[in-house]
Symmetry: D2
Subunit: 135 residues, 4 copies
């Protein structure tokens, strides 16, 4: 199974005037984990500008379970959970940990990703070897 | 039925190196429409810092249907589609229009929102009058 | 003199846990005003993906004078203040107005912009007619 | 001398349709380094929500020297360069490194920071011991 894990500390600009992390900021954390996940599949971001082959998010679902705060450590665990001819489904579990505390679940998400060949924007088939990696 | 509509022009900072609008930027467009929707329900953002009563997104679903590009006009139509004791469900339809073109659907989304009383973070019941507005 | 003015309402995602607009968000307001300013010079953003000719910020100076808050109306007045062979200097004045209040100055900024031809990234001379527009 | 260094990999959402890192994204990299710098001065972000004492940027200057790209490693070196009764001046040097390349300078910046006591927003004197740390 392909997995990736990222970790970062909540910066000021990811919080909002409610005193907690903005719902939008979680999508940034998820994007970093997803990029690492695709690197593990042999498609690192550092090759994409040359290859023109980009992962495109076609659907996101995210459930916010608890608030995260300034300076919390956010940890994202990303997994590939399904593959079909033209789409990869990724799941994400996010925890937050304040300096004294234990990690607590703050959000769960799922993204469906297609591969798109730029500049034309043509969809590309998912590589056959990815099916094996998932099993 | 409560509805709100917003419109804005895609700025540079909402695009990414794939040449299209970033999947994350759509959540910013949606947040502006949702804020307007809640103002229509009698809960304007300008009162929130004083009242401490904030809408908190507890779930987002978004389907990306087509790419939007720099300088496109993004129009968001937001509607309240369901209300229960502690949650409001909002739906969003997003279109993009380039200078010469017709508006084309680019994304559909749904958000479930709870009301939270800060600083304690206690959930609050949805006001009774909102149920009538939805019918 | 070439001028542009933009106006927008502070959304949640531009505020931070200090309860005020994030210093970074002002650069987004400025970018929108600058884009409008360049459209007034005959270089609309809607042409840039085709022409490959982009304005690139080479220097920013910004002074933050007072705090802006959620739901304030931010107004940006942008002007071209100098032009030389390869650079345009723009100045920006930002005010914020809460629902009951008068507009109050919140920030002043200056940006130096060069024209860059993509994909090569070659600098381009400032069009001769822009010199006349500035006088 | 107080110094801090941060490093991160350019994500999709920090690039724009010109194919390079957005001028605004650099301010995010700088904010993370500045937060680490203040932690080194004994003012960690994890204490701020409780103490209500926040660093507020009152001026930013940034020179963009070269383009950074998707997946580059951005390294920020931050230093305190001056202190007076009510302000701290920080300088930042940013380099970018692609997978095969050497680090190359991409931006230099300076920020002037004041200490602000929330919720009143009163300016606070710079702690006496910070003057010694800078010498």
């Amino acid at each position: 199974m392909i997995e990736a894990e990222t970790s970062e500390t909540v910066p000021f600009y990811d919080t909002d005037c409610g005193g907690v992390v903005s719902n939008i900021a979680y999508l940034r954390y998820i994007e970093k984990a997803r990029t690492l996940l695709f690197a593990g599949l042999g498609m690192p971001a550092s090759d994409m500008m040359e290859s023109g082959l980009f992962p495109a998010v076609v659907r996101t679902e995210i459930d916010y379970r608890a608030a995260a705060r300034l300076a919390d450590e956010i940890r994202v665990t990303a997994r590939i959970t399904a593959v079909d001819k033209v789409r990869v489904t990724c799941s994400f579990e996010l925890t937050a940990r304040s300096e004294e505390g234990e990690p607590r679940p703050v959000a769960s998400a799922l993204q469906v990703v297609a591969l798109v060949q730029l500049p034309e924007g043509r969809p590309r088939r998912i590589p056959a070897e990815w099916f094996k990696l998932i099993e």
